[in-house]
Amino acid sequence: MKFWQALKEAIASIAGNKTRSFLTVLGIVIGVGAVIGVLSIGQGAEASIMGQIESIGTNVIYVFRGNRTEDVTNPKYLTTADADALANRARAPHILNIASVLSGQSSVRFGDESAQTSIMGVTGNYAEVIDLKLSEGSFFTESHITNRSSVVVLGPELAERLTGRQTELVGTTVHINNYPFRVVGVAAAKGGNQFSSPDMDAYIPITAMQLRVKRQNVPNAVDFLLIQAQDSNSIDEAMHEGRTLLRASHRLTSRQPDDFTMTNQEDMLSIANSITNILTIFLAGIAAISLLVGGIGIMNIMLVSVTERTREIGLRKALGARKFDIQLQFLTESAMLSVFGGLIGIGLGWLLGEIVGAVAANSGTPLVPEISLNSVLLATLFSLAVGIFFGWYPALRAANLEPVEALRYE
């Protein structure tokens, strides 16, 4: 029998029993649907995270307290004194700038409107280090830092949320943690599909942060430092110099491990990548299990179908069907069933992604689910493989029936 005829017969047979066909492939539908759905959400989230990491800039090094790979007892706090120690032109020629950051959550109020958001207490060169542009006004200066001035630069989305506008805000007053702050600038939108948008942040002098928003037990402690290297080619040198200076500043002996961690964009990207890889392996595991379960479902029904159609098989053999013809017929049927299931599953997964995306967008986290052509092709191919693999044994059983025995079957 020609392949297209087998295909036609398979489709007719599947269509002739729609409810049962659908129930048969439900396992495949749910399995493929779950994987495609989670994958589309995962890829959307990955794009967000990657975008955020890339927005850091290639020549910025993050310094955190503590050591992620080695046990360190009582790691010293990072302080503004550390930042000063790093600003050493002679011993660290590859370091261009250092910014200190102390961040926290607080309320921001303008008139009757208020919002709970991230307050970034930063030094004056922060805007330069992370390449933050202003749409109006100017970023605060060293003198604001020294004077612990209550001044603020608003993120554009925050400004919009509080005041309904993004311009003509310089000179107005907002209340942060119930202290009045004078607006000196509004940041330009960073754009992109950020996970936690910096456009919702408010920036104030780090000294004002310590005074008004986040009182610290350790004087001058900061959450993290940002080191800006001369350019993206001198990252490694800048990290090396910074590490030497910080170790000295923390008075570490040569036998003590670092009590701080330095990472750059490249490191973060590779961490994000490895997390994504783990997620992918995990999903592949779910996919394998669900396809296995789905495949067993198909095998089960195909075996029932072979038994039910024993007489038909006997008749076909009596009319001249070879073993191969019978096997082809049943294999085509199980493969088509499985592929149909896979296609429905892809649709279901797409729907799942869209729903999660809509829910996320409603709750303020923009997340655009992405279904790549690759995952669609892979899902289809895997469904096909499952159909052929689990249809093999039933098809072989059908092909090996003896014509007389099969015809006599009641």
């Binding site: 029998m1 020609k2 005829q5 007719a12 047979s13 002739g16 007489r311 038909e312 008749l315 076909r316 053999k317 009596a318 009319l319 001249g320 069907a321 070879r322 073993k323 191969f324 013809d325 003896e402 014509p403 007389v404 015809l407």
Partner: protein, 235 residues
């Protein structure tokens, strides 16, 4: 024998054929040494009491089952030498089998049922036309699009005969083709078979219980307990 010239080779040549069935310890000797020849253009009726081995013999001739011992030549081919796939080709090309229970596929219509053997043929050209011609030859040109359950028993059996003829086989085998039919439809089916034999010279072997049917055959073979009984020729 006077009806069959010696020069013509038999289509079917069965020599000392036996068939044993084993049911646990018990051996059922369904055929105990059958010798039989059937020549092109003949119409032969096989008769005998129930359980005498008629169906068993027909299944052997139809290459649906293999004998325990003995030889069977179909169109000069030694059937026991053939592999599974070769047997399938023989069933497809040389044999048309009509069953007591029509055995039509319920999902597909008459013409598709008739075309089914063509799908398993080498030559798949003009399937539709050939199936139509076969249906017309059994007088069902106006029922092509009917599903089996939309046809009477007699019509269904005629569709089955068209299916058996569609590949122009060397021989048409019919095991109690009227067994499931009322007497009127049975008569029509028998008239069709007789017409096919007389007008188109189709070689037919059929099993029947009806002595009047047997009268139309040129020869009757009486089976009794797995053996051929008495002389072959009748009146």
């Amino acid at each position: 024998m006077e009806l069959t010239p010696q020069a013509v080779k038999p289509v079917i040549d069965v020599q000392n054929l036996t068939k044993d069935y084993y049911i646990g310890e018990i051996v059922v000797r369904a055929l105990r040494g059958i010798d039989m020849q059937i020549f092109p253009g003949e119409m032969v009726a096989i008769m005998g009491p129930s359980g005498s081995g008629k169906s068993t013999l027909m299944n052997m001739i139809g290459c649906l089952d293999s004998p325990t011992s003995g030889d069977y030549y179909l169109d000069s081919l030694r059937v026991s030498d053939l592999h599974d796939d070769e047997l399938a080709i023989v069933r497809n090309q040389k044999i048309g089998f009509v069953f007591q229970k029509y055995n039509l596929l319920p999902r597909i219509d008459a013409i598709e049922n008739v075309a089914l053997p063509l799908r398993y043929s080498e030559d798949t050209s003009n399937m539709r036309q050939r199936a139509e011609a076969a249906l017309e030859s059994v007088g069902l040109g106006d029922r092509m699009r009917h599903k089996p359950n939309e046809l009477s028993g007699g019509q269904q059996q005629r569709v089955a005969i068209a299916r058996a003829l569609v590949n122009q086989p060397a021989i048409l085998l019919a095991d109690e083709p009227t067994g499931n039919l009322d007497s009127q439809s049975g008569k029509e089916v028998m008239e069709l078979l007789i017409k096919l034999n007389q007008q188109q010279n189709t070689t037919i072997v059929l099993v029947t219980h009806d002595p009047t049917v047997a009268l139309h055959a040129q020869r009757t073979i009486q089976l009794f307990d797995g053996l051929i009984k008495a002389p072959e020729a009748i009146a």
